[in-house]
Symmetry: T
Subunit: 149 residues, 12 copies
């Protein structure tokens, strides 16, 4: 049994209410429940956290990263502006999967760059809440060693 | 029953032999077999094609696109250089999922830009051959209407 | 009677003490009092908040935005670096007026770009504390429907 | 009693008729009347001028600038292309307030740069014809010495 | 006896009054008189013109250029923004000497580029009103054939 | 019977005399006569105008645009520098065809950008005076509804 | 009697079906027929070809270019990415007219650059299928020597 | 006796554990102890603080800056992204020495720019924990007036 | 005895006929004969291929690369646009020498960048057909181990 | 009597022999003689020096600068690459006039930037050897105080 | 006992006399004496050199580098322009500490880039002559192995 | 019998000792001997020179260039920074072959640009000391007229 971390960045607590045509209608709580169940079925523990504070996200990665095995992260707006999050991910050294609900490449140019992309293992973008589920599957496959270096 | 297209760009016919530390050890034939089986289990037909020719890839999309429902595409090197492929995808109007085996953001700067990214529904990158399987799942979810616009 | 939000970003709590040749000699408390009185005279309620924390600013917009009618925001340094604030403003969907005390175009080049400018209704810059008062008038005019789309 | 100049750039003579969804439905004559009355109430004289000619705008600033106290300017398209207007404003040395009817930051990239912004005292943008009224108030406050350097 | 044209761009009519620390204290009339006398001493006729209008400057070059031998031009602000002036100079095909009163390289970055520089024979900059006198000497030397191609 | 406007920018009054190897040997008057005849044969009225003044070109579009049906414009040097012309074209809302005598892409880099290109219906470039005739045909086809949106 | 070549790039075989709001409703076959008839009326032979393959387009230019007199080319997506096509056009040395159905300047930024523009004689863009007809007229005028160098 | 502030940015609490090949093996507590002792030997009081929160770092500078004499700051990741920290340093007006453990110029390009560099007195980079000791010496020399303006 | 591959890109089949002032007067067949003889003299087998098709070039590298020892490649126009060729060279892992007939640095700016340059061992440019002969010598020296890593 | 320095950069010792169509046919010795005579006539001493060594130019400025009054400098190629020369000019603090024989704006783009331009008083370019004479006149005028700050 | 090299670039021989508000009032000889004494106290030999010649600096590094242990270098203006110095430092492979007297980040943009920064171990900037003393300490600590890789 | 010049730039005197994995193990003396012998066999005289001084390299080209027939140059670091070398090569007008030992395109971005590339006849790069031998052969072929213009 492994421990899977799921981290949600700023404004993701509004999911389901905020610009649903862009981000979908599922709430963050529903997503977390769905992910926890899917992880449990795969025999893993899943811990999730959301914050609007860059510093809290950094601290959570530092604290939880030591006793976890893989990280799924949707850094929201901090994707494009936070070197601190990147450094935290580098510091704990967990294999990381980056998720974006919307297709960031259809949006403002500043959303095309991610400070996490080259330190993560992979990215899943544009597939809504379903993208989290795919990320979880990828995390499980990583844990099973089915995805090479 | 829907029809799912899977398109592989240049040099992907070398999979398993070419730079395995970067692209993995599974051959393209094995990937196609795996995808076809998974699609069949979901009740769908899956048609795949590989070519080193930009023009053949464009023509195949034109010809197969009319009677298909979704497109999974790994354009390989043409990701970064082909407007013709982008135009073919726009022309057939299929929902499209872009797959990359390696994490393109860890590599040369010219691999960070994709001519398909903003016309595709979503991207899956850096997860090796497993990424194709996730893309297939996403395709099935799209067909079931489980991923919003 | 409408509710008007006024949000002040980092270091604005130092107003009156910090670089007065640049930012003026009025304290933030005095500005808030002045704005609250002016709003009351126009028959509106005004709620203001200052924080040095990007996350607290985001959270306050989320919490207060739902039951408010218009937002006046001086994001201070976060103007130039915070996509999270932009996303919060987009999420609550309030008509927003951006205020800057100093003329940002006379200063360092990185102050010429604002992540809020194109999601706000308008900007008022370079007019010191008086700019807040103008923003309040603009907010009232917006509420009266005197400013078109 | 002070003298306030109001200068309108090219195509602003079409106000009310030209792209009303962008520029509003008030005519320039109505705006000038409104401003003249408001100035009179504040005890000031207000002189306004519109031209489609860059050279006429420059000449008018030169001629009127010597016996005036403050300048309100909406340079229209010349905002983005005229160094000559900038030089005229520098030459007469009047405190200047720049006004834009529309939110230039929501429009084409070339409208994000202003040759006047860093030589003006402040900017008011995106608030339609009401922005002129705010600029007039700011001008009066400047004359009263209520806005610091 | 040759005919020498001297053309002054926008705001140069303010010379002596406008920012004297930057542009000096000699009036444009004084400069023109000085140049006319110096030309007469060299046996040449000198015709000068100033306008704030780009179009008038273009037209004057067209009209006077046909019966003149050399052009001295200080395009002022139009140096940096006018392709029309460049085209007029190209059209009449006169050898041209570009003059700037101030050292444009010490000023805003947009003043470092000139649309005339590569179609002129040479430039004299930063030497105040004296620069016009040097340009006149250069023009005379050009007419005497003392400056090669 | 429709009314077709033809507008010529700065220095085009020199056609036939100015750099004939670049711009051809036909005078502007000859071109206008040719166009007027061709328009008459197609049953349309044609009105043409040339100016070296940006402001006059703007004013003419404003004045003639209201009672005309289509605009053929060769903005000359203002192609590359005039936002005011672009705004005038946007303001009158006429379908517009942009003409250039020379192939601007073989010339200086600053001639590769046009402020009109994306607000015009189409462009014809590099085909000399004959390009005006093609533009007239295109204008007639537009009026006949033979060119879609 | 001269020989006129007409070359259509990738995805143009879909004309009439592909994004008709952008590219119109006429099929490529209809366009070719129209052009062949118009050429015949002018006493010329017209040969046309379409391919999705960059290499086939290059080869066709090489093979047909030797015994032809003028080339009309709509390179489609290869406009923006193919140096090989540019080199083929340079190699055969035919006078060339570049055609685009849509107004490329209203679309993605990468469509604003053409590798052919500065080696072609001229361009016609944004006028739909009618643009081909204008290009044919221009080709005939070129053959008659009515368009100067 | 003077008061010296030492401020550590995000992820520096992990020192000794995080990527030791890059950041060394000394813990932050050990560094603080070392610095406090060295300061005491020089007769000064030293106060240190670490936070992962941009806002807390800003607030600490505001609160401690008023009664301190010099600031040593290693802003970590916020070096490259925080205008708010820069503004706080400007606001308190303390002479400031910027420290980086690693040689930022050997790393990702985004680490080559610092928002603090031009408002600090000097920089010490690439010398590991020893760099803090050098910064302390520099701070003492500044207090003794041994380093000019 | 080793096997040496020689690959010629698009339009090189025209050598001797195409722009001889730029590319020389030797035909490609003559070059291939010359190279085959020189290779035979050195005791090596030499296989050459030309294509205008990017895909055929990629496929030929894939097919011939497995049983060859060194690759001499003149990618012609694809030098500047083909990531697929680069990837094919990377995939087969042959030591590669890049040849250009003309001095690409004297030509258009887009010819200054090569997608092959940093994956090849070395470059020979600007020396006409003779450059192929030098490349062959370099290939032989590589095979003899006379050129270090 | 003042002392005027004249400094010539690399390759200027070849004047008269090197590319005469670009740099003229007068030798450097002739120029120096001409300048020395003209200076003597004005009652000044003139000292000149040429070197191909950046370091020698720097040292000469340091050594001669202390007892001189004005510097005329044609830095040749070092104009575009030498910060050391700029620093030497700044260090001695002499009023400086920059001379270029050719019109640098008609040549390669890297010749458009000068490291001296903004620390010199003025520039004279494109007027051949005659430009040195004009520079000498300007130097004399500077010494007479006839050119303001 | 180790040998420490100290290298001073162009214009540093003027220290104490040149722009003292920027570079301080201590002469280079005084700095060298101070450094030699401090090195002697630490039991090391210190050799210093200054030159205005890039080539002499390169040669000195080559000659002295072989029998030395660490290099302290203030390349002055060559920091920003000399690849040759960088290559010399790379060639001798000595651990290197880069020193700048002034805070280069407060000065012209071209001073923000250093060709040495990423090949040096660390940088000390903006601390005047005292920065050399800190660099010496760092050198000694390096020699003692107290600074990790 | 012709005279061939061989010029080596800074740090090349260290060949064989400096970073041998990058530059090989042959000393410069050995290379010069090898080249002199090969030239002698071809019946030519060969003169070589190395310097770390930009000025000495320029002077040597000036002095030797007049009585030589071809120049082989490896400018080392000055490739990327010296306009003076470029000007010297232009001044003497010798056909020039540029040599680089390492593949500069695999190294730092600033090594991808050469100030000599477009004034040289050709380039040979990445082939170690053997590249000099190929350059000599090219020089001989040039002298025999076997390489066209």
């Amino acid at each position: 049994m492994a421990r899977i971390l799921v981290l949600h960045g700023p404004n993701l607590n509004l999911l389901g209410r905020r610009e649903p045509q862009l981000y979908g209608q599922t709430s963050l709580a529903a997503i977390d429940t769905m992910l926890r169940q899917a992880a449990a079925e795969a025999g893993h523990e899943l811990l999730s956290f959301q914050s609007n504070h860059e510093g809290e996200l950094v601290t959570w990665i530092q604290q939880q990263g030591a006793q976890a095995d893989v990280l799924i992260i949707n850094p929201g707006a901090y994707t494009h502006t936070s070197v601190a999050l990147r450094d935290a991910v580098l510091a704990v050294g967990l294999p990381t999967i980056e998720v974006h609900l919307s297709n960031v490449y259809r949006r403002e140019a500043f959303r095309h760059h991610s400070y996490l992309a080259d330190v993560a293992r992979g990215q899943i973008a544009g597939l809504g809440a379903y993208g989290y589920l795919l990320a979880l599957q990828a995390a499980c496959a990583l844990l099973r060693g089915e995805i090479g270096t």
